[in-house]
Symmetry: C2
Subunit: 211 residues, 2 copies
């Protein structure tokens, strides 16, 4: 599948493909070799048609009455989602959340690697967290260039968000994942994703309230 076709894959499908892969890897570990669309659907709480359509969109074809070959499907999702070379990632702010992410991510995906972390706390600098070196934030631009880091995950206190974002943008970062409750602005050539737990929690609260 070439880039031209990939551009037409809906955003939602991209998210689901990531989720499918996660589920497929779990299933694969149990020794299963094939899986039906309705099995994937059940795991993800969506419909089987949705799964089949997503898989259709990436041009994979299952076997009638046998379902999808898990290994092949995982590989194809890898071709869509993963980069050829390893993509280096930096975590900025190695507090509880930064450490959770660093730890959680170590060794999880072969093509995504947390290659550095940053903080201002002198006690943390020079240490390793889940095998990842922690540098002082004033080294940010230097290290990002040296280590060819293309994605930054911001987990600093929200008062620092803007400053860190600016530093990241100045270092030529390609993508930012902002876990801070402070929304930021980035130039067009930087891809931005923001997530705030409060929103998820308030959403749950709303639907709980509505029964």
């Amino acid at each position: 599948m070439d880039k031209r076709k990939m551009r037409h894959i809906p955003h939602k499908t991209i998210e689901r493909l990531s989720q499918y892969r996660r589920a497929l890897l779990i299933c694969q570990a149990t020794g299963k070799t094939h899986i039906f669309s309705h099995e994937i659907a059940k795991i993800q709480h969506i419909t089987a048609v949705q799964v089949r359509r997503d898989i259709m969109l990436i041009g994979y074809t299952g076997t009638l009455r046998k379902g999808y070959n898990i290994t092949e499907l995982v590989n194809l999702i890898g071709i869509i989602l993963d980069t050829d070379e390893v993509l280096n990632i930096a975590v900025i702010g190695i507090g509880n959340l930064g450490r959770a992410i660093t730890k959680y991510f170590s060794g999880k995906r072969t093509k995504l690697k947390i290659s550095a972390s940053f903080d201002t706390n002198p006690d943390k600098i020079g240490k390793k967290y889940a095998g990842v070196d922690c540098f002082h934030i004033n080294q940010l631009e230097k290290i990002i260039k040296e280590k060819n880091i293309s994605i930054g995950i911001i987990t600093v206190p929200s008062s620092e968000t803007i400053e860190i974002k600016n530093k990241l943008v100045n270092s030529g970062i390609k993508g930012i994942l902002n876990y801070t409750p402070k929304p930021v602005d980035v130039p067009d050539n930087v891809y931005l994703e923001e997530y705030d737990m409060t929103t998820s929690l308030e959403k749950v609260a709303f639907f709980v309230k509505m029964h």
Copy 2:
């Protein structure tokens, strides 16, 4: 606005209302009293029409050429999103992520309160994290009933997810926010929201790859 009307508010709008409130509170703190739809839009990286439509859906009306009264709008969003009584929340698993959430959330919303946390590590039990007591997981059902907890946030290692989910469901929990990479199944009367960082990160990676 009554519950009947609230039911027709789209899910996406609910999420954005939460985000608007966050942004509005920040603006309010700077002394601003009014805000234009395009200002909110800018902060949230969406269009002004979208903002106006969302606000229209909740039945609020701005002033021509003055924009929306921030205090009034914040209050109205509160009427939509918040419960009348405080909603009690439990965090299960007080590792890095659990602590990050507990700390981040303390005192953030008056109607949402983290009232208990749980773990199995004996060193943690009996301690307080950001002012929240930590109990042993085998106390889960008891404490949830005692403290009238309606939402559970799961931040345990994914091998424990299912067990914790079952305990939560058995305790009569109303909503679950699962931060574990292991998808779970819940009965219809429990509202479930799942979030996995890997998906966000892979999405950023994909769009970085696509330029």
